[in-house]
Symmetry: C2
Subunit: 348 residues, 2 copies
């Protein structure tokens, strides 16, 4: 590996490195003749500035750190897709790291990212993260941070989320309007903001239609584990059993579907199923599962934009706000492929 430097160019052209540097950057104080000479030679030998040297000099790496609970997850890989699209356009690269849904690893990972001199951090909190004070400390040192999806109100950073409340409300409302009365809800860990919001949307929809809020129909599962089956079984063994499931995640929805299939329950004739999800394959397998789709890619894009804006901020920035992106309700009917997509307005 050769790697041409400005020093090489200078030597070849009998110019000082500073002249070469200036010529390459098109500085006005270099004679057109010299400029041309340098440019042409650089082109010819395929000169590329060394970004590491630049990073050292400018004290910035042009790298964004992304920390997600796990990469091998449809939602997060789509978010990352959105992040990358923006990042590359703006000349940044992306280093992706995983917390594996583990609080301690999240702390270590964040530390690693900072040590690695990323210019800013995009984070979706692990499901075990109760305490964000370590992030708060970082943020107070003016380190650029943007949270997405799994956010925390304790942090005064930009937060990008789907309209979880609105999506859950719409899903529940849809089920009610289709005659469902006993709607089970399986959520993810209760202390996650997204869980609370989805539960609230569910609850408020019931309330609006004057249906009882039945605690026995509400369950929560941990992430990264496979404990859905017994919970679904348990719910189905109630008398009367639920006539619909609204699940707060794609994995849970699919687990739910598996149990229903196994028990020979017709979906959605006997039990309707609607998941808060973004699984592309659900599209292909549909019907019978309806979904509230999260704008994963847009979340990533907006998060990256916000972060880069803060990284490059020269003047005062507007205060950090929470950006809520609308979800889409996709209703898949059992018969044929009739599919109805409803773009939901953002809830207040």
């Amino acid at each position: 590996m050769d790697a041409i430097t400005i020093k090489d160019i200078g030597r070849a052209l009998n110019l000082s490195t500073s002249t070469v540097s200036r010529a390459l950057r098109g500085s006005y104080e270099i004679s057109p003749e010299t400029k041309r000479l340098v440019m042409e030679y650089a082109e010819r030998v395929n000169y590329r500035p060394n970004p590491i040297a630049l990073s050292l000099k400018e004290n910035r790496s042009r790298v964004l750190g992304v920390i997600v609970p796990q990469i091998a997850n449809n939602f997060f890989s789509q978010v990352i897709n959105g992040i990358e699209a923006i990042a590359y356009n703006r000349g940044y690269h992306v280093i992706i790291m995983q917390s594996h849904e583990n609080y301690e690893r999240e702390i270590i990972t964040v530390q690693q990212a900072v040590d690695r001199k990323v210019d800013g951090l995009l984070i979706s909190l692990s499901s075990q993260t109760h305490d964000v004070s370590y992030l708060k400390a970082l943020h107070e040192k003016n380190f650029p941070i943007v949270l997405f999806d799994r956010v925390s109100s304790e942090l005064d950073t930009p937060q990008i989320i789907a309209d979880n409340y609105g999506g859950a409300f719409a899903a529940t409302e849809h089920l009610i309007q289709n005659g469902r009365r006993r709607i089970a809800h399986i959520g993810i860990p209760t202390y996650l903001s997204i869980t609370k919001e989805r539960l609230a949307g569910y609850r408020d929809a019931l309330q609006q239609y004057e249906l009882p809020y039945d605690e026995t129909l509400i369950r929560h599962v941990n992430l990264g584990q496979h404990e859905v089956d017994p919970i679904v079984d348990d719910l189905l063994n109630q008398t009367p059993p639920p006539d619909a499931f609204f699940t707060a995640s794609d994995r849970v929805a699919l687990g739910c579907m598996a149990v229903l299939r196994r028990r020979g329950v017709a979906i959605p004739e006997q039990v309707a199923l609607i998941g808060f999800t973004n699984v592309m394959v659900a599209d292909l397998l549909a019907p019978p599962m309806s979904t509230v789709e999260q704008p994963a890619q847009e979340i990533g894009q907006l998060a990256a934009e916000q972060l880069i804006e803060r990284i490059e901020a020269k003047r005062q920035l507007p205060p950090a706000t929470t950006h809520k992106l609308p979800t889409r309700l996709i209703v898949r009917e059992s018969s044929g492929l009739s599919q109805l997509t409803q773009n939901l307005p953002a809830s207040a």
Copy 2:
């Protein structure tokens, strides 16, 4: 953002930077007393070496570049998962880039990665990549490259693939042994190595069981497009229609399943379906789709190991070889959850 340097430590302790540097690295030529002093102070002020400065000095970035056709894909995100696991253990970070199944973008992306001074490259070729001479040139400059999944025999680099032939053979054999006679095969673009291997496995299985190789049952689809439906429809409209589908990718398998569902075809009673895949959700939705599962994570791990070995190679390395990882045949029967996993031996 503060960021302590050895210079700061030296100033605080009245030592030269070299002494601090040596003390920190535990050099034998520093007095235990000084060492302790430095270590303790460094610990107290939370000193972290600047990796960028190190990179500049050592002319290595400790970053692996990973180039995949797309991130938002189950297979690749699992591979990346495997890569990360190894990389972090060995002190490397991973920058992920996408070719978007586009040859020109692949070239640009590889160039960007090299410009960015990654220490080596893990690549799965885009489906449009016919010509790998640009990689060959890079490889001949001794730049460490490892290919995985979408590989090319024209490159003399390590190549990590699933046992595509063996998996396809086993899948086809399984269908035959269960009485299927007209097995349709839908593959991906023909010039991809994985396509050829899977097709060969399919063909050889037919041959071994003395079934005809019927060209009209063979189709290919482009990646990243949604043109599966008409193809499946077309195949089903044959007389007699196929009694089984063997598809070379997860997306195709799911598209296939959607069409079968739409047409009310019972799976697998009327038409069996087996996909070369790694979709985790297929597990949850099963039955009725059987799968040949690729060891995605292991592919990533092995690829990363190979690459790091080559990056850090001090002495002569063994010649580049192709590593073929066994697949797993997972048969999902229609009734109940009876599921049979068969670990396939690697084919020759």
